[in-house]
């Protein structure tokens, strides 16, 4: 009789422990705190001169992202809606030491890209944005960031159609280093209209729009 009681107590204890472990594992699976960052780098026209700044931003991001996060760099050229335009991509390993090695390799790849990049004739920002959305949705990151390193002046090649509505729910769209063009200096309204146009596109798609021109304020990216 006593043995039975003991067995019963033991089985109850095992059951409680199993339930606790399952619940904890459930919690561990449900929470998704990972970040996904896709940075679009404009390589059209004279904007290639700004690429060293882009490299500095990428390095900052590499230093900020943690194990489990995803990062990709895509170029904006004549037709950006293509996997070929993804310069480098990585999902950092869970272990910090392996993640550090991956970061070093990523940095090397970006440095090679910056040194060898050739400017494109057209600027397909919308295509790049669509590619970024697709990639980040596949990555399954908890927080999604698309950084657009461009002057935001879109120039589509003949025959390219980009009237697809953006689905940017839960996306943070951050425009970086939006330089003023020669025409903007003459007529600032053009610059404002350009920025406003992209803000409307981003927010119209359900995303959050931000503009960071001062690269000293990069710590605001993930705030």
């Amino acid at each position: 009789m006593q043995k039975n009681k003991r067995l019963m107590r033991l089985s109850l204890l095992v059951f409680a422990l199993t339930a606790m472990v399952t619940a904890m594992a459930g919690c561990a699976q449900k929470a998704n705190h990972t970040k996904g960052v896709y940075m679009l780098v404009d390589t059209s026209g004279t904007y290639t001169e700004e690429l060293n700044k882009a490299k500095a931003i990428i390095n900052y991001l590499l230093g900020t992202l943690t194990p489990g996060d995803t990062m990709a760099i895509g170029r904006i050229d004549t037709g950006s809606f293509s996997e070929k335009d993804i310069v480098a991509k990585v999902t950092f390993d869970q272990r910090p030491s392996v993640a550090n090695t991956q970061k070093r390799a990523f940095q090397k790849k970006v440095a090679e890209f910056v040194s060898k990049v050739k400017s494109s004739s057209h600027t397909d920002i919308s295509g790049g944005l669509l590619q970024a959305v697709e990639y980040l949705n596949e990555s399954g990151s908890g927080e999604k960031y698309i950084l657009i390193f461009s002057d935001l002046k879109e120039e589509l090649a003949k025959g390219h159609v980009r009237d697809v509505p953006f689905q940017l729910d839960d996306f943070n769209i951050i425009a970086l280093n939006v330089t003023k063009l020669r025409d903007d200096i003459r007529d600032p309204k053009q610059y404002m209209q350009r920025v406003e146009l992209w803000r409307e596109k981003a927010e119209g798609g359900g995303g959050n729009w931000r503009l960071i021109n001062d690269l000293e304020r990069l710590d605001n990216i993930f705030s």
Partner: protein, 497 residues
Amino acid sequence: MPDATILFNITPVPFLSVLVWIFLSIAAMYFARRPFHDAMASLGRVIHNAMRVAAASVKSAQKRLDVRNREVLLAAGMEQAERRTEREFERIGTAVERNLKAYPQLQRQLRENLLRLEDDYKQSAEIPQGLSDWVKVIDAIAAIKPSGDPMVANILEDIHNTLKEQHKIALEGHRKAVSQRHGILSRMVPQWRATDKTLSGLEKAITDLTARSQAVDRCMTEYETVRIQSDAAERQLSSSSLTQFFTSGLVLGVFIIGAIINFNLVALPMSEMVGGASYIGAFRTSDVAGMFIVCLEVVVGIFLMDALRFTRLFSVIGCLDDKKRTWFFWILLIMLTILAGVESSLAFMRDRIAADMEALRQTLAGIEPSAVAASKIPTIGQMILGFILPFILTTVAMPFETFISSSRTVLGMTASWGLRALAFFLRLAGNLGYYLGRLVVNVYDLVIFPALWLEALVVRKMASASDEKNAEQDGSANRKTPMTILEEAAPCKKTND
């Protein structure tokens, strides 16, 4: 939406309208005065009584809590006194065991010493033989007067020589005997000293036992004071409890800082083991794992202290028999040492990961990686810290136990003060409600004072009219005719007719 200005337009002149409204209002209030007074008096009484009842209830709860607090405090004091007395008894037991265990041997030694001393004394007491009887003969011969006879002179010469020889032999014998007695006496000296030393040891042991017994007496007196549940004991325990609460709280705070440092040592390397991207709820799994290790060390430390009987947080451990408890202690100590070793290696790993991260940051920032200092002292320091901290954290059990036991009393006292304050505020609210009701009644009367004044005037008039009427009636009743006066002046004489 009705326009409020319509109220001022009931007559062509707004001022008149206002006067009319005031008059009507005062009239309405005058007629509603009695019910309003009654209502306000009732409300005041309701508030007053309700608050008094509530205050009485709270006061009763506070008294019950006070009794409970007293019980808890005295129970804690009793336990403490018991522990102290028990410890003193253990000490006295150890002292008795240590000092008096050798008592039979000591007694035997003393007896042997005394026997030896007695023997020596007897030996030293033997009196050497006196001079033989022939000395008297010689004395008799020596008394013979010289006659000048050479034969007698020769005989006397021989006797003299013999006497000298005999004297010499006797003196030597006497010296030898005295020397032997001195030898025996000098042999007695170390035995005296040994006896003295033994007796000194015994005296010291007895003094020690006396001091211990005095300490036990003190403990027993304290215990008795707590047992009879005197007010003095309660006050003393209460004060002691507050002091212990704040002191142990302070020490616990220091330990918490130590635990945080410990946690920081293990959290980063744990991400290398359990992954840095998984979460349990809102917390990183690596952080939870690091905290788990620190908590595990604290728990093992608490068990260890209980096994050593330094604390009594888990009575089951304290109640184990000594053999099992010793086994338990050694198992816990081994576990703690393993945990300390693990933490030390984690601290080493942390140092490596931190260095790697720093190098990466420098590379990303475009800075030439600085030459890493060749010194391994920081690494060794971290490893030593990682090894020592778990052992230091084990002692948290003692302030923790004190904090828990004293917090019961302190929380009880705080709750009692809170209830007392609540009872006071309830009584205050009751009185305020009662007097506010009276104030409102007075203000009400103040507002309708024209009507009241009018009423008083009318009542006075009516009263004076009534008085006059009554006076008239009384006057007519009291007015006496001359005949009546005469009748009163001349009393009626009763006749027999």
